[in-house]
Amino acid sequence: MKSVITFKEALNLALIKEMEEDSSVLVFGLDVPDHKGIYGSTLGLVEKFGTKRCFGTPLSEDAMTGVALGAAISGLRPVHVHIRADFMLLAMNQIANMVSTLRYMSGGKLCVPLVIRAVIGRGWGQSAQHSKSLHSIFAHLPGLKVVLPTTPQDAYGLLRSAIRDDNPVIFLEHRWLYDIVGEVDDEQAVPLGAPAVRRRGSALTVVCTSWMNVEALKAAEVLAKNGVDVEVVDVRTVSPLEETVIVESVMKTRHCIVADYDWVFCGFGAELAALISHRCFGALNRPVERLGYSYVPCPTTRPLENLFYPSAVSIIRMAEKMLALKETDLSGESFYTYEQRFKGPF
């Protein structure tokens, strides 16, 4: 069945479907069953499936990650939810030392069907401890899959695939994407792996993670007015990374900006830039450029916050430089501001 729903409703639907179809799926985390339900994504689960299959936890990220792992190797399929990815750092010992290594150290005897969902990125004034994405750090660890959905269809399809996967999957959801509306076909599976081309173009490829897809599509819309046709590629699955779609796109456009929703230095963007430079070396007209967070802790105040995050404007300016174009007058353009979408506190 097809329906037009929000990203958060798509996540909710995926959880309901998986819980209906597989009695070993359970969902837990701090505040998962409360009246807010992780921005709506877990609303109704406890009423529908009971406290055995959907429950809140003590503020014990480290232990609860270990509990999820212990349950996963004992026949369950846990989905452990964090309202902020920053809080996963409290569970990093379990994630880096246990979740990612247990299968290898057991010589392949153990299976770890575990999903860790977390909200990432910008709200307003979220500052340095409620704004990280951390996918570069998770992807650095072999033994984990790392997924960042952007559309409601992907939120739905990738979450279902993640829950069905027999490996640990870190599933990172940008806060601003929760209210994005799109068509979701509940029968359409979205396998973990292949990137998606969000917009076809011939002049330049922008390879994006998470929210940067929204910014890149806006940038493409503006640049199209000047006859510059931008291709936008959504990585979707950061690890394991499937290279083909990305490489084919850049071989065609011969120009590439990597727009990663994370710090540039030592980040996933560097991995992409190295991959593209290596695989597309002869085809590139210009060196691969990278956009991402400024290399500072995230500031709170809006003017500095605006400088911290990459945006459609930074993509446009980078594209103009790369293609030796004049700077477009952006005074008539309307860019995304979150006040139009939601009010605080997040």
């Binding site: 014990s60 480290d62 609860m64 270990g66 792992l69 190797i73 004992s74 150290m105 153990l110 033994g143």
Partner: protein, 321 residues
Amino acid sequence: MAMNKEETLSLYRKLILARRAEEKIRQEYFRDEIKTPVHLGIGGEAIPVGVCHCLPEGTKTFGTYRNHALYLALTDDAAGFFAELYGKVTGPGKGKAGSMHLSAPERGLMATSAVVGTTIPLAVGAALANAYQESAGIVTVFFGDGAVEEGVFWESLNFACLHRLRILFVCEDNGLAIHTPAVERRGFRSLEDVVRGFKCHVAAGDGSDLPGVVTATRQMLRLMSAEPQPGLLNFTYLRFLEHVGPGEDFEAGYRRRPTPDELERLDPVLRFQKELRQSGCSEQELEAVKISVDDQINRSVSLAQQAPFPAPSELYTDVLA
């Protein structure tokens, strides 16, 4: 402890297997063929041997890097054990686990770990899975006294007690975190007293006394059946050797060498042998166990030495399912 002779000798065999296997490691380690750090548990064998002896079939067990006696008690698989230590593909982890991460999920030993405290929440998760699946099974987790200072111990204990899970926490208390004594690490008087504040059964015992460990464990399992909530057993023992490696370190200055009288009391093997003799076992019977165990160990070491290393292609297998 009401046990017949057959059961007693079977328990003795497990104790001797753990002891002789580690004595074999001490003999062989200088050859540098066992290329994995070994945390030998000589002096503490009665705790895993005694506790595991009481566990019902199907129990899931988790442990630490000082896991040799636990692995052997649960599996009797000396061949796999030595193969893993020698890094061979015939080991239970195909040589990827080594001494510190031995496991045998098919025999209930789900995981052991080299980062202190890390398997404690896994055990709680396994107990949660038992409750979820409405299984009557129980879970046991072994950890050292150092782990009690990790936040994750308290987080795990709290969650297990909150959900009244069927889990037995077993503290193997040698009073040392590597070389630092408890008195220099703890701002509380007694682990048992603190844990009594939780919804948890608590008992303590002498970990050098194998029949005592068995009795305490059986009693704890009865308590956990009568009033379903977690249980914690704290067993003290003396670590005879250095934290890691095959040597003694009584001369290192951080602890004193026990007197011969103390050693007799603190060595679970000497102590159990004495009891066996008193209860009518002959020297020949004890010697026969030792000969049979040594034969098993020698064959296992020889097999391990001859077994192949994993092929280069094994580097990339078992990362993801």
